[in-house]
């Protein structure tokens, strides 16, 4: 029962990443990220119950608080302030991007087959999903031109790492977990500030325009 929930949530996270790749509106992308973080919290919760690990509840709580509520709110405020709602044409068309994502998922999964069966035969699935999520997130970063989308892609990669941290090892030491979450949030805040300064200076969030430093 526990294994099914975990695999279901992990698969859900991967699907949300796929939707992100296909999505053009920024608001929806942020909401998808919020959903993804929520599923991560559910994974943490189920493991907390099944493994009787009280500190995972704290992790789940922090994930919900920070990544499902605070970060999407902050990014939406940044977009409102700037007023740009649509993503401009990415480098690769959506069907081609999806094909590449499928390829990356195959790669992620092939690698995870060699992994040991964790508690309840779940971990090699989780690692497979996490790796695929990571590769898709990275691919999203490479193809999308908007600064906000790059931040979201980076956060997807972070989520993949946290998925491994929570799912495979049933929780890292708590203090480290908190320290890491705090740093991620700090990074996002600074990225947000930078985006606003870039938009003030360049009147656009298009990162591909930022290419004067050559050689």
């Amino acid at each position: 029962m526990k294994a099914d929930i975990l695999v279901l949530c992990a698969a859900g996270m991967l699907v949300s990443a796929y939707l992100m790749v296909g999505q053009r509106a920024l608001f929806t992308t942020i909401r998808l990220y919020g959903l993804q973080s929520l599923l991560l919290a559910v994974v943490a919760a189920t493991i907390a119950i099944s493994e009787a690990r009280p500190e995972l509840w704290v992790t789940a709580g922090v994930t919900v608080a920070l990544k499902t509520i605070l970060i999407p709110w902050f990014l939406m405020r940044v977009i409102d302030r700037i007023g740009i709602h649509r993503e401009i044409e990415p480098f690769l068309s959506v069907p081609a991007s999806l094909l590449v994502c499928v390829g990356l998922t195959v790669v992620g999964y092939r690698v995870s087959t060699g992994f040991p069966e964790g508690a309840g035969g779940v971990s090699h699935h989780l690692i497979g999903v996490a790796l695929s999520l990571l590769l898709v997130g990275l691919f999203l970063m490479v193809t999308r031109k908007k600064a906000i989308t790059q931040i979201l892609a980076l956060l997807t990669v972070e989520n993949a790492v946290f998925l491994v941290a929570v799912g495979v090892t049933s929780g890292m030491p708590l203090i480290v977990e908190l320290g890491i979450s705090f740093d991620v949030i700090l990074a996002v805040l600074i990225l947000g500030i930078l985006v606003r300064r870039i938009v003030d200076r360049f009147e656009s969030m298009d990162v591909s325009r930022l290419s004067t430093l050559k050689g």
Binding site: V111, V207, S211, K214
Partner: protein
């Protein structure tokens, strides 16, 4: 003065002089009077050390300095070969140091005297370290230091574009050479287990292709520094750009560090040299000799002309060395001994007469302010002593008896003759006479070139106002030239003495006994290849016969005492003879340019400026250019391709963040697949 005592004194002296010069940097005169006499003193000590090792024949070694951090120790070992090159260095370094005192006082260099003086000491110290280095790290340490000091000296007048580009070209080529040396030495060290030369260069290298690769690496590394064709293109740029006293040192000594390396490692360090190596060295030696002199003929910048002649003389040295290597390949130790003796003798001779010529050129350039021969003329009347010494240098470099150039070329011919007699191999029967013919052609062309250089610069009417008002160099610059001129004559007249000192060196390296039959107590030398007869060279006999002939000639033409010889104007076909009528350097070398067109591929422009009718031009301008084949066809494309590739690679950092992220994505996917594949 054995090396254990001598060398530390030398290094202490050099460091003290360096420190004192830097302290006195502000006052140019003081800096000059500290730097150069100090380095002259140190060179004298080096000479004493070298002589003691040569005479005692017992090598001495020890450790300089252990670099505590990396446990790499810099040791020294002075054997016969190193002592000989130290002797060559110090014999030339002392007069050049004294000459520099005068030369650097010219308004052009005086404010840079401290810079030149300090670097002169660093350079000499580095060269001495190169010759006495006992292990790879000490050798590379000194080698690189020497390159940097030389490059800095070439760039002393860094206002001019060509000295900057000359210094840079020198630095790049030497550095690529040093890269090969580092690779070679470290490969040797790992093959023989230790960095010290005694182990690494004892010929214990595994046979097969690695030896040939090592030989190629070392030849490339040392060939660049020796200025062998086709690695020579930096030489005609760097020598003229440097101050003349430094160019004398560069031509006289620095090229010899390359030759020393070729001898120490390529010829006698990698075990018995294989035949193909010997043939390669002889071939490149011949090529360098002929092409060196051919290019020298076409140069009208006095210092470039002398620089190309250095290439020619290095070619002659390599011919001797190549003959020695082929002798060793056939197991004929005695032929190898003669070949090596010939090339070592020419190393000393070239250092002496090239040093003399460059010092003379320095005096002339300082007096007239330009290096173009076409501007000179009639300098013998204004600068009689410089003219006389330059003439003696010219006679020596053209290999004319009884001076020293002839003695070493005679020995090289003997090496070819004995090599030919000693073997029945058809390759030798083809190659040695051909090399003999090439050597003869080179000597004759050198004679033609120096008739032009001396005749056009020093004789007849001055072609420019500067040449007309040139003043003779001060005594401090003439005395060293006199010393070197006297040395040219002495080395020419006493070959026997030189060969005896060389006997020990050649035997220790080639194992072949140098059968000598010294005639008239060192005045002459006798060589044999073990066959019936000895061939002798006694230049003193010829000197006596010439003196007798001169006496007869003077007696025949003796007039009544006191009757002054009538001075008449030279026949000018009816018109009044001016400097314009004189033969120019271009005209003098025109026939040879026509004959060797295939080599030069000259391009010429003739402009006739005529007003009324084209048949009566007021003025005709003639300009001929010979094609720099190596620059245009070898190095030009190479450098362009490197720049093109570098420019192509620049696209890697083209500013787009997405590209950078893509690199990371590719790397991650690649490594993940690698893990899976290796898993």
């Amino acid at each position: 003065m054995n090396p254990a005592v001598g060398l530390p004194i030398v290094m202490a002296l050099r460091l003290a002089t360096l420190a004192a010069t830097l302290l006195a940097a502000r006052r140019a005169r003081a800096a000059r009077l500290i730097a150069f006499p100090g380095s002259a003193a140190a060179s004298v000590v080096t000479m004493l050390t070298a002589v003691s090792v040569l005479r005692s024949g017992s090598p001495a070694d020890g450790v300089w300095f252990v670099h505590r951090a990396s446990q790499l120790s810099l040791s020294y070992s002075v054997d016969g070969l190193a002592a000989w090159f130290l002797l060559v260095l110090s014999v030339v370094a002392v007069p050049i140091a004294i000459f520099s005192i005068g030369y650097c006082s010219s308004p052009h260099f005086s404010r840079r005297s401290a810079f030149i003086g300090a670097l002169y000491n660093v350079l000499l110290g580095a060269v001495e370290l190169v010759f006495v280095a006992g292990d790879a790290i000490a050798f590379l340490f000194a080698w690189e230091l020497m390159t940097l000091a030389t490059a800095a000296l070439v760039a002393t007048e860094h206002e001019e574009r060509e000295s900057r580009s000359a210094a840079y070209l020198y630095l790049v080529m030497s550095h690529i050479g040093t890269g090969c040396l580092i690779a070679g030495f470290l490969a040797l060290a790992s093959a023989s287990g230790s960095l010290s030369f005694s182990a690494a260069l004892s010929g214990a290298v595994a046979p097969g292709p690695t030896r040939h690769v090592l030989f190629a690496l070392f030849f490339l590394g040392f060939g660049v520094k020796a200025g062998v064709i086709p690695l020579h293109i930096w030489l005609p740029e760097a020598h003229p750009a440097a101050p003349s006293s430094i160019s004398a040192l560069m031509s006289g000594v620095l090229l010899k560090t390359g030759v020393y390396g070729l001898m120490r490692v390529c010829a006698f360090g990698l075990g018995a040299p294989s035949l193909s190596w010997g043939v390669f060295v002889v071939a490149l030696g011949g090529l360098s000799a002929v092409l060196g002199v051919l290019y020298a003929l076409m140069q009208h910048d006095l210092k470039r002309l002398l620089a190309y002649h250095s290439i020619e003389n290095i070619g002659i040295i390599l011919l001797g060395l190549g003959a020695a290597m082929m002798g060793l390949a056939y197991g004929r130790g005695d032929v190898a001994a003669i070949g090596l003796a010939a090339s070592l003798y020419h190393v000393l001779n070239h250092a002496v007469f090239k040093g003399l010529l460059f010092l003379g050129a320095g005096g002339v350039v300082m007096a007239t302010g330009t290096r173009q021969i076409e501007q000179f003329g009639g300098l013998l009347r204004r600068m009689p002593w410089t003219g006389l010494f330059f003439l003696i240098g010219a006679l020596a470099i053209s290999g004319l008896p009884p001076l020293n150039g002839f003695a070493s070329e005679w020995l090289t011919f003997q090496a070819f003759l004995f090599g030919f007699r000693g073997s029945t191999d058809s390759l030798v029967h083809f190659l040695f006479p051909l090399s003999g013919a090439l050597l003869a052609l080179t000597t004759a062309l050198a004679a033609a070139c120096f008739v032009k250089a001396f005749g056009i610069s020093f004789l007849a009417l001055p072609r420019s106002r500067a040449a007309g008002e040139a003043r003779e160099s001060p005594a401090v610059m003439l005395v060293p030239q006199a010393f070197l001129a006297a040395l040219c004559i002495a080395l020419g007249l006493f070959p026997g003495v030189v060969l005896q000192t060389l006997g020990g060196v050649t035997t220790s390296l080639t194992g072949g006994e140098l059968q000598q039959d010294p005639l008239w107590g060192g005045l002459g030398l006798g060589m044999t290849s073990g066959l019936e007869s000895f061939d002798h060279l006694v230049p003193a006999m010829l000197g006596a016969a010439m003196a007798a002939g001169l006496a007869v000639a003077v007696a025949l033409t003796l007039r009544r005492a006191g009757a002054a010889v009538r001075r008449v104007p030279t026949w000018g076909c009816g018109g009044e003879l001016t400097a314009g009528h004189e033969y120019t350097a271009t005209a003098f070398s025109k026939p040879l340019m026509m004959i060797f067109q295939a080599v030069y591929r000259p391009t010429r422009q003739v402009e006739a400026l005529a007003e009324a009718s084209p048949y009566f031009p007021r003025e005709v301008r003639y300009h001929a250019e010979i094609e720099p084949t190596f620059q245009r066809y070898v190095y030009g494309p190479l450098v362009d391709r490197v720049i093109k590739v570098a420019a192509g690679m620049k696209v890697l950092q083209a500013g787009s963040l997405h590209a950078y992220l893509a690199y990371v994505l590719v790397l991650v996917v690649g490594l993940v697949l690698l893990v899976w594949w290796r898993g």
